[in-house]
C-alpha cells in the first residue's frame, strides 16, 4: 500500500476538487427539495422550482403531517415493514442454514429455486398475486402486504445468507454437535452470531426496500386507512394540480426512518457489501 505522502499535491487537489464537485451535484436535488418544501405552491407556480424562495416557513411540514395524512400513513408503513422484515430474516436464516450445512436430496434444486425467485420480475406477478389475495380474502389487509413482501424478499436473503454461512468453518458446528448441541441451538447460538454482519447488512437493505415499496400497496390496498407512506403521499398528486410543497415535505419526513436505520447499521451495511471480497 503506497504511503499517502507519495501522492503529489497537485493530484490530491484535483481529486478533492472532483470529489467536492460530485458531492455537490449529488446534494443539489436534496437541497432543492428542502428549499421547495419551505416555499408555497403559489410561489412555485409563478416562479418555477429553481427560483429564490419568496417566503420560508415550516408550515408545510405540519400540513404534510395533518392534511397530508402522514400521521396515519407513517405508522402504517411500520406496521407493514417491521413484521415483513422480521419474518423475512427469520425464515431466510433458517432456510439458508439448512441449505448451507445439510446435505439432502434436491439441495441444489432448492437453492436455485431461491435464486430463481429473485430473478423473477415482480411486474408479471402483480395480477396473479392480486387474484390470489382476493381469493384468500386478504385483499386490502396489512397481512396481504406482509405476506407478499416476506415471500418476495425471501429468495434474495436466503441467497446472501447461505453464501455467507458457507464461509463459516464446518469444524465449529461439528464440535458443537459433539458437545450435544441441537441443530436449532447451533443455528441460534453459533450461526446467527457469526453471520451478524451479513444479517445487519440485509436488515438495512430490506428495511429500505420494503419501506419504500410503491407498487404492492397500490395493487393490494384499497382504503386510505391502510396505505403506507409511499402510496399515501401519492394521493396528493392531482389530475391537474400537484400539492408540491406538501408532497415534498412529506417525502422528506418519510426518509427519516430509513436514515435512522441506515445510520445505526451503516458500518455493517458497508461491511456486508464487501462480503467475501478479502478472504
Amino acid at each position: 500500500m503506497p504511503k499517502r505522502n507519495n501522492v503529489p499535491l497537485a493530484v490530491k487537489i484535483v481529486l478533492y476538487l472532483f470529489l467536492v464537485a460530485v458531492t455537490l451535484i449529488w446534494l443539489v436535488p436534496i437541497f432543492i427539495a428542502i428549499i421547495t418544501s419551505m416555499r408555497t405552491n403559489a410561489d412555485i407556480m409563478s416562479h418555477g422550482f429553481l427560483a429564490m424562495p419568496k417566503t420560508i416557513d415550516l408550515k408545510s411540514y405540519f400540513e404534510a403531517w395533518q392534511r397530508g395524512g402522514l400521521h396515519k400513513y407513517l405508522p402504517n408503513s411500520f406496521i407493514i415493514t417491521m413484521p415483513s422484515l422480521v419474518l423475512t430474516l427469520l425464515l431466510s436464516s433458517l432456510g439458508a442454514y439448512s441449505l448451507a450445512r445439510f446435505k439432502f436430496k434436491g439441495r441444489t434444486f432448492f437453492y436455485f429455486l431461491f435464486v430463481g425467485g429473485t430473478m423473477l420480475p415482480f411486474q408479471i406477478l402483480l395480477l396473479p398475486v392480486f387474484k390470489l389475495s382476493d381469493a384468500l380474502g386478504i385483499y386490502d389487509t396489512y397481512f396481504a402486504l406482509i405476506a407478499i413482501h416476506t415471500a418476495f424478499q425471501l429468495g434474495f436473503c436466503t441467497f446472501v445468507l447461505r453464501n455467507y454461512m458457507m464461509t463459516v468453518p464446518v469444524q465449529v458446528m461439528e464440535s458443537a454437535r459433539i458437545d450435544g448441541c441441537t441443530e436449532l441451538g447451533i443455528w441460534g447460538k453459533i450461526m446467527l452470531p457469526l453471520t451478524l454482519p451479513a444479517f445487519a447488512a440485509i436488515a438495512t437493505l430490506e428495511f429500505t426496500w420494503i419501506f419504500n415499496d410503491y407498487i404492492w400497496p397500490l395493487v393490494l390496498i384499497r382504503s386510505s386507512e391502510k396505505m403506507p407512506v409511499t402510496t399515501g403521499l401519492a394521493t396528493l398528486q392531482g389530475q391537474y394540480v400537484q400539492d408540491w410543497t406538501v408532497i415534498i415535505s412529506g417525502a422528506l419526513l418519510a426518509t427519516i426512518p430509513t436514515l435512522i436505520v441506515f445510520i445505526f447499521l451503516q458500518r455493517y451495511f458497508i461491511a456486508g457489501l464487501t462480503l467475501g471480497s478479502n478472504k
Binding site: 406496521i79 422484515l85 386507512e225 394540480v241 400539492d243
Partner: protein, 429 residues
C-alpha cells in the same frame, strides 16, 4: 461490544416488528365485531386528488355522515393516475368499493359493456333524475335505455387569455380563424408569443387536435374518428395537420420546446407577459396565481368553417356502482346524495365547476361559470376529450403522434399512416 449494539438494535427491531402483528390482529377483530353488529357500511374510492376537489369532497363526506349517522362511510382518495390503473383491480375483485368515481362517456361504456357496472335505472327513477337531468346527460349514462352512471360535474374548454396583454395591444376577441391568425401575427410582431402550452404530459396537445379537427371537419367526423369508424390517413385529418396546426407551429405561434413543461409550468409565460393565450380547461383557474386571476378571461375557440356544426370539449366526471358491490343499498344511498340538488349546489359554489342536476338554480353560478355554460350550451355537439372519447390504447398512440408532429411538422403524412395502422390493429380486435 460492537456485536452487543447490533444485537440490541436487531432485538429492538424484532420487538417493534412483532408488536404491530398483534395490534393488527386486534384491529381486525374489532372490525369484525363491528360488522357483527350489522352496521351499514359503504366504501367509496375517488380520484379527486387535486387539492381543491379533495377539500370539497372531504366536506361532502362530513355532510353525508351527518345526514346518515347509522352508516359507516369508508372514503379513500387515490392519486388520479394510480386510480386509472387500480380501477381494473377494484372491478374484478370480489369486494370492490361500493361507489367509484369515473369519466362519463366512452370510458364508462367500456366497463358497462364488460358487465362490470351495476344497472341503476331504479335509482334514476326513485331520485327523479329522469326529469331533473337533461336528455344529454341521461343519454350519456344509458346503454339500451338502462342507466348505469351518474354524471356529477363538468367543466368547459376555451381559449384563456390575459386581459392585460389584449388591452395593451388593443386586441379584439377573435371570433373566426382569420381573426385569430391576425391576432397571432400582431402579438408575434410585438414580441409576444401568441400561445403558451406545456405538453410534457401530452394531453394539452390533444386539446389542439380535438378543437382543430372539430372546427375543420365537424364533430360528427371527429367522434367517428374517436370511435375508430373513420381512418387517420383520411385527407380531412391531414388537412388539419398541414393547413392549420403545422403552420401555427412553424410560424412560432407557440412557446418554444413546450414538451419540457407540464401544463401548469407553462402558466408563468402568461402571467409575466411573454405569452398571451392558453387553450385549456377551466381548472386553469385553480393553478393561476391568485394575484393575476382577475386578468384571466376566456373566449370560445374561433370558428374555422361556419358551415360546420360547432363541437366543444366538456369533460364530465361522475359516479357508478360496481356490479360486485357488497353493499348496493348503501351505495345507492350515497349515489342519491351525490346527485341531489343540495350537494350539486354545494359543488357548483365551492369548486367553480358546472353541475348536472337541472334543479340547481343558475344563481349559484358566478359570471365565469355562466359564460362557460353558455359556450357549451350553444354547441351542437359536446365531446368529452381526446383521451376520454377514444380507447386508452388509441389515445396513447395518438398523443405520441401529436408530440412527434410538434417536432416534425413536415412529417404529418407519415405520422398519420402510423396512427392508421394502430387504429386498424386496436379497433379490429
Amino acid at each position: 461490544m460492537k456485536n452487543k449494539i447490533v444485537i440490541s438494535v436487531l432485538a429492538a427491531l424484532f420487538v417493534l416488528g412483532m408488536a404491530p402483528l398483534f395490534a393488527g390482529g386486534q384491529q381486525e377483530g374489532a372490525a369484525e365485531g363491528g360488522q357483527a353488529a350489522e352496521q351499514d357500511v359503504v366504501v367509496y374510492n375517488s380520484y379527486w386528488s387535486d387539492p381543491e376537489p379533495k377539500r370539497v369532497e372531504a366536506e361532502l363526506m362530513e355532510m353525508f355522515k351527518e345526514q346518515n349517522p347509522g352508516v359507516k362511510l369508508i372514503h379513500s382518495t387515490v392519486a388520479h393516475e394510480d386510480f386509472k390503473q387500480a380501477i381494473r383491480a377494484y372491478l374484478t375483485s370480489s369486494a370492490p368499493p361500493d361507489v367509484l368515481t369515473w369519466f362519463a362517456g366512452n370510458r364508462a361504456r367500456f366497463f358497462i359493456d364488460k358487465g362490470l357496472i351495476m344497472d341503476i335505472s331504479d335509482v334514476w327513477e326513485e331520485a327523479g333524475w329522469n326529469e331533473s337531468y337533461s336528455k344529454g346527460f341521461r343519454a350519456m349514462s344509458s346503454v339500451d335505455d338502462k342507466q348505469y352512471f351518474l354524471p356529477g360535474n363538468w367543466y368547459w374548454w376555451a381559449v384563456y387569455y390575459d386581459t392585460r396583454v389584449f388591452d395593451e395591444y388593443d386586441i379584439e376577441i377573435p371570433k373566426t380563424w382569420d381573426e385569430l391568425m391576425a391576432v397571432c401575427e400582431k402579438l408575434k410582431s410585438n414580441g409576444v408569443t401568441p400561445f403558451t402550452v406545456g405538453t410534457k404530459y401530452r394531453w394539452t396537445a390533444a386539446a389542439w387536435f380535438d378543437y382543430l379537427n372539430m372546427r375543420v371537419n365537424g364533430p360528427e367526423f371527429h367522434i367517428n374518428l374517436m370511435l375508430g369508424k373513420e381512418s387517420y390517413d383520411d385527407p380531412r385529418v391531414l388537412k388539419v395537420f398541414n393547413d392549420y396546426w403545422g403552420p401555427m407551429i412553424d410560424k412560432g405561434y407557440f412557446v418554444e420546446s413546450p414538451a419540457s413543461y407540464a401544463w401548469a409550468e407553462a402558466i408563468p409565460f402568461m402571467t409575466n407577459g411573454d405569452a398571451a393565450m392558453y387553450l385549456m380547461g377551466d381548472f386553469i383557474r385553480d393553478s393561476y396565481p391568485k394575484e393575476d386571476l382577475e386578468y384571466l378571461d376566456f373566449f370560445r375557440f374561433p370558428i374555422i368553417d361556419p358551415s360546420v356544426p360547432v363541437g366543444e370539449d366538456a369533460p364530465t366526471d361522475g359516479y357508478f356502482i360496481p356490479k360486485n358491490s357488497q353493499n348496493p343499498e348503501m351505495a345507492k344511498k350515497l349515489l342519491k346524495f351525490f346527485g341531489s340538488k343540495e350537494v350539486q349546489e354545494y359543488v357548483a359554489k365551492e369548486l367553480g365547476r358546472l353541475v348536472t342536476n337541472n334543479k340547481v338554480d343558475t344563481s349559484v353560478y358566478n359570471e365565469n361559470q355562466l359564460k362557460g355554460r353558455e359556450i357549451v350550451n350553444a354547441a351542437d355537439y359536446v365531446a368529452q376529450f381526446y383521451d376520454r372519447d377514444t380507447t386508452p390504447e388509441m389515445a396513447d398512440k395518438g398523443m405520441n403522434g401529436f408530440m412527434e408532429f410538434w417536432q416534425n411538422t413536415d412529417q404529418a403524412e407519415k405520422i398519420l399512416e402510423k396512427l392508421e395502422k394502430s387504429r386498424q390493429q386496436l379497433f379490429e380486435e
